[in-house]
């Protein structure tokens, strides 16, 4: 009988541990295998030992992150369920579609990395540098077609182009991979999307990249100008990633998580990833993070309204 109990215990122990939620669920609002997913998986691999807890990563990219956000907000705010997403999910998506949450429903724990969206043209484009590129766009309003993701990347690019006074015709695709295919096939004039997707084509002289949506330049793309070069650094919208906890999480729990995640983010593996994919390694915490989110949310809201978009 004792033996039976022992076996039963052995069998049930892991199940019970899971049921009690001894591990932290990180709901990643991005498909497995993408950049955001990769960053988060590296992050939790480092953070797990620091917290003495294991992380379970669950990917669900549905509805631009709305679904996982709802899951997290509806659950118990005990720090056992967190959400990770790219910034667009809370700074861009709410301007494009109705979202069942507001900025009060979550606590930002950590912001990480900064990567530009980049605008590129075919090698034959009549411009040798960024200034000429913008001049050509301004001289030909609404002439050139640009492939965007129709979401966060679209708003980020529009924000920069509006500030520069250029207008282009938007063609929406489902993500950078689709855009680059259409761009390389010569079906659209301009590419707008992540650097990593176009980087190899740019190196092979199949694309000339002129403009970034960040203030700074990127070492990976020497030709491309940052917004600071045009004195509109305030209009920058990079792609970055955030980890959120639900509202009502006890402050000491949130603080403990934040400290561990920040420490985990500052690891060699994380730095290596950012170097490998031409992204800037930065970490935002606390008030700086909140201010950043607010600024970006307001900026993109203006762009959306100027384009006549209401959620």
């Amino acid at each position: 009988m004792n033996l039976f109990k022992l076996i039963l215990c052995l069998f049930l122990a892991p199940a019970a541990a899971l049921a009690q939620g001894d591990s932290i669920r990180l709901l990643v609002a991005a498909p497995a295998g993408g950049g955001t997913d990769a960053v988060m998986r590296i992050l939790v691999k480092e953070a797990g030992p620091l917290l003495n807890q294991s992380f379970v990563v669950q990917n669900n990219a549905a509805a631009g992150g709305i679904v996982v956000m709802e899951q997290m907000i509806r659950g118990t705010p005990n720090g056992k369920t967190l959400v990770a997403m790219s910034n667009g999910s809370i700074t861009a998506i709410p301007h494009l579609m109705r979202t069942p949450f507001t900025a009060d429903d979550y606590i930002p724990l950590l912001g990480i990395s900064s990567a530009p969206y980049v605008v590129c043209a075919a090698p034959g484009f009549p411009a040798t540098n960024a200034k000429e590129f913008v001049a050509v766009l301004k001289a030909n309003p609404d002439k050139y077609t640009i492939g965007t993701d129709g979401g966060a990347g679209w708003l980020a690019t529009q924000r920069a182009l509006r500030a520069l006074g250029a207008t282009v015709r938007n063609i929406s695709y489902k993500g950078a991979a689709e855009i680059v295919v259409s761009f390389l096939g010569g079906h659209i004039d301009l590419y707008s999307g992540s650097v990593s997707t176009i980087l190899q084509s740019a190196k092979a002289d199949k694309a000339k990249c002129y403009l970034l949506t960040t203030a700074d330049r990127s070492p990976a793309l020497p030709l491309a100008a940052g917004l600071a070069d045009f004195d509109i650094a305030a209009e920058e919208t990079p792609l970055w990633r955030i980890v959120l906890a639900p509202r009502g999480t006890p402050p000491e729990v949130a603080a403990r998580l934040e400290a561990a995640l920040a420490k985990a983010a500052d690891s060699p593996a994380m730095r290596q990833f950012h170097t490998d994919f031409g992204e800037k390694f930065v970490v935002f915490r606390g008030d700086e993070l909140k201010a950043r989110l607010k600024r970006e949310y307001d900026g993109l809201g203006q762009v959306a309204r100027s384009l006549g978009i209401t959620p």
């Binding site: 295998g33 077609t145 129709g150 991979a177 295919v181 390389l184 980087l199 190899q200 084509s201 994919f277």
Partner: protein, 503 residues
């Protein structure tokens, strides 16, 4: 040529190393298993295994992940043939004739030809990747929005050909599929359509949920209705392997399907699914002898199984040569490469030749392993048929539900599957075939997106579809196909008119 041989030599030296052989074996074995289990697809499996691959060498990791993908194509056919459930979405079409063959006691030959057809197609596609990957990737780039739209039109007309029985019902089912495909967020405007405020619907209905429900669950409900009828056909299991006669009969199908599947696999958005559907449509049109399609014609198994395997393999071409994922699984492979610190793109071939050629060679090795693994297993799989319903069906339902859930970690999808199960049952009762609906559902959204993109690009000029040669050819083909379908229909009408006037 010499270059190719030395490259392949390098590839095999990598693929045949003990470590890589082992991971290749693990990959195809896992692939076969998840292929057999309905619902648990390669996408979910690769996602779950991604963290495990961190610790492997990049080559071993990719060899294993690739093995899961094409291994699943083998395993998927087993469930399709034996229990009429799509073990893998791409084997949905194999059910039509494969299950009928099983009912007739020819499950063995059906499973055998599926394995052999897959092997031949897989080997040919591997060779194709080795010889022609870079130029073929360039061809895929020629497909712009206009070309895609025309390709989808051709596909939809083909969907009507797929159906047997009433043309009107087939058209109705295609349209229903198109309508279902409208659910979700519009790519161009970001407007949520027909979602009724349900966030889970904003990305559209899940394909797995629809396929599993309408084909799988519906079949189970139907079988419950018939009681333990099935025992009758398990008694006459028959031979385990296809006869020489069967094999020779299938060779042309396998060749055609390999060519078609290879072509469809290279296109972005393509992959195993389009390969199998396309091959079935072609075989159905070209085969006139033996039993009709849908009644257990062995070509209806050989064609799609060869097609999906060829396509599964050639879908690696854009990924390996351009770093562009042609479907979600390839996106996952790119993720695996990124985590390993390899930037996917054309430079992989030159900078990491051992990885590139090793992976290609491993595909052939993996295909060989799959045949060796699968042929002896056929006897065992057939034993599955003797498991009584009361045990088999709850087990299948359980696996299906877990499988559907695992795609998006979404309970909503599991409920959706149940609803589509009910719908599938109604379809069978009204003799409306769900296959054209499924194709309409897949192609519809792609067609719409590309139509609108093409029109935006041409500033609203619809003649663009005929100005571009590739697009024009496909539209003309679609029109010809329509005429072919419509002719007997019109002829019959005329006959009816004549007979009436005679009276």
């Amino acid at each position: 040529m010499e270059q190719l041989l030395s490259n392949l030599g390098l590839g095999f030296s990598v693929a045949l190393s003990l470590t890589n052989l082992w991971y290749c074996f693990i990959g195809v074995l896992l692939g076969t298993l998840i292929g057999v289990l309905p619902g648990i697809g390669p996408l979910a499996t690769i996602a779950m295994l991604l963290p495990v691959t961190f610790t492997l060498s990049p080559t071993s990791a990719l060899i294993m992940l690739a093995g899961i993908y094409y291994g699943a194509q083998y395993g998927g056919s087993t469930t399709a043939i034996l229990v009429n459930l799509p073990g893998e979405t791409s084997s949905a079409i194999t059910m039509l004739d494969g299950y009928q063959m099983a009912r007739q006691g020819r499950a063995g030959p059906a499973l055998g030809i599926a394995a052999i057809g897959s092997f031949i197609a897989g080997s040919a596609a591997t060779l194709l990747i080795a010889v022609a990957a870079p130029p073929l990737a360039e061809v895929a780039l020629k497909f712009g929005p206009a070309e895609y739209f025309s390709l989808m039109v051709l596909g939809l007309v083909g969907a009507v050909v797929l159906a047997h029985g009433s043309v009107v019902k087939a058209v109705a089912m295609v349209i229903l599929g198109l309508l279902l495909g409208l659910i979700g967020t519009d790519v161009n405007s970001g407007v949520a359509r027909f979602t009724f405020g349900v966030p889970e619907l904003s990305d559209g209905l899940g394909f797995v949920a629809i396929a599993m429900g309408t084909f799988g669950y519906a079949e189970i409900i139907l079988n419950l209705e018939q009681g333990e009828h099935r025992e009758v056909f398990t008694a006459k299991v028959g031979k385990l392997l296809p006869s020489m006669d069967d094999f020779i009969y299938c060779v042309p199908s396998i060749i055609r399907a390999t060519i078609l599947g290879s072509a469809l696999g290279i296109l972005p958005g393509g992959g195993a699914l389009l390969g199998s559907f396309g091959a079935y449509a072609v075989e159905k049109k070209l085969t006139k002898d033996r039993e009709p399609f849908g009644k257990g014609n062995i070509r209806g198994v050989a064609g799609p199984e060869a097609g999906n395997n060829a396509a599964a393999q050639t879908s690696f071409i854009p990924m390996l040569t351009l770093g562009i994922p042609s479907n979600a699984i390839m996106a996952m492979m790119i993720g695996a490469m990124m985590i390993q610190g390899i930037a996917p793109g054309p430079q992989v071939m030159t900078q990491k030749p051992d990885l590139f050629w090793g992976m290609i060679a491993s595909m052939w090795v993996g295909n060989l392993m799959l045949v060796i693994l699968n042929l002896p297993l056929i006897g065992m799989w057939i034993k599955l048929l003797t498991v009584p319903y009361r045990i088999l069906y709850p087990a299948i339902l359980l696996f299906c539900t877990i499988g559907v859930y695992s795609v998006q970690n979404s309970a909503f999808d599991s409920i959706l599957t149940a609803l589509f199960g009910l719908f599938g049952y109604i379809c069978v009762k009204t003799e409306s075939e769900p296959a054209p609906m499924l194709l309409g559902y897949i192609l519809g959204p792609l067609m719409e997106e590309n139509l609108r993109r093409a029109m935006l690009l041409s500033r609203g000029d619809p003649t663009v579809f005929f100005q571009r040669p590739i697009s024009a050819v496909m539209l003309v083909l679609a029109i010809l196909l329509l005429i072919v379908i419509a002719l007997p229909f019109l002829q019959k009408k005329r006959d009816e008119v004549f007979t009436e006037s005679d009276q």
